[in-house]
Symmetry: C2
Subunit: 217 residues, 2 copies
């Protein structure tokens, strides 16, 4: 059995692995988990002896398939609990992450599979992230960043890159939600801001906001 802490390390490594081909560095993990590099080194040694990561001193780490499987299962738990909190317990999408961070570590196949069924096998969490199935398979949406769209193009809002409270609250305030069909009305060349239309309203998004929004392609 793996501790909460070990699972959090594996999850962090998994997420960084998605965006690098090289190993994930000690410092990267330390920053993400709000801990010190020396603590990370200690944990990496431990995870390596458990065959959950490939660790070569000074050169960062990758997950073994055993490690990846655990990371995916924790992510599955996290995202299913987020769906539960939003859909059944009336939480807002910007309130669920920290609770899911605790619930994800409760280890019971039956619990999570029954929860999955109870929720009707959702494919994405409230922020648009895909939910791995019970075999760890993730169905990746094909999506592109909104900033790559041109005037008059449109698509479904499917994912937020930055899912911090602040950003999610901004979206909620403007009733801009995942699943909404968005049309680009015009792009201001001066500051790359986007004027969009959705659900009978219009809104101007700064470039940095547009870059946090992904559209199904």
């Amino acid at each position: 059995m793996n501790s909460f802490t070990e699972e959090n390390y594996l999850k962090a490594i998994y997420k960084f692995s998605l965006t690098t081909k090289k190993g994930v560095s000690t410092n990267t993990i330390a920053k993400k988990l709000n801990t010190k590099a020396s603590s990370v080194t200690d944990m990496l040694k431990k995870l390596a002896t458990k065959n959950l990561i490939n660790y070569k001193k000074y050169y960062g780490v990758t997950l073994t398939s055993k490690g990846e499987q655990i990371a995916l299962s924790v992510i599955r738990n996290h995202r299913l609990w987020e769906v539960f909190l939003v859909e059944k317990l009336n939480f807002k999408w910007d309130e669920v992450h920290d609770l899911a961070e605790e619930l994800e570590h409760i280890k019971s196949e039956k619990l999570i599979n029954n929860l999955d069924a109870f929720l009707n096998f959702p494919t994405n969490d409230p922020h648009g992230d895909p939910i791995p199935n019970k075999n760890g398979k993730i169905k990746n949406l094909k999506m592109i960043n909104m900033s790559e769209l041109k005037a008059n193009e449109e698509g479904i809002f499917v994912y937020v890159k930055d899912s911090s409270d602040k950003f999610l609250k901004y979206l909620s305030k403007n009733k801009l939600e995942i699943g909404e069909r968005i049309k680009i009305l015009e792009i201001e060349p001066f500051d790359n801001s986007f004027k969009i239309a959705y659900n009978n309203q219009q809104l101007i998004l700064s470039e940095s906001i547009a870059k946090n929004i992904y559209i199904q392609s």
Copy 2:
């Protein structure tokens, strides 16, 4: 904030307090929590400095009102999660205790109050134990042990004293469930066994089984 471990100690002390007027002894707690008396002593000192228990060396402990409040909140969490698992996720009543033992330690007022509402404010868990409300108030059922009933008396089966897997499975096998109306047909004076009728069937219960069953009075 209190650790899982501290909460488990408080809960254990609370439960023993219900059946003794004296302080709860070190050994009693050690047995319940599968640990050693010396470990218990250490923890009692710690809980005492946090003002959660009244501790006088060699004379056992009682909860302070602060400690009792925490114990009741953990118990509330435990029992509400058990209801959730049975009613929403199709668990059997003999499968939920260990999972609830983990879920009970997730500390969020909003989570538990919303769960309570989602479950329609249940008053009892799947084993008949009362669920404290959000202020820690427990509505105690007035109930008596089945062995105190006489022939031809009847009532509703509301609580099991022994909620071990073994006993719960025995009851399930005989379709004898909480909420069932039970009538005592006769009591065999030789071995104090009970012949009962419920839900169109009859069953003979040994004295020790009868003693584990409580009936609403």
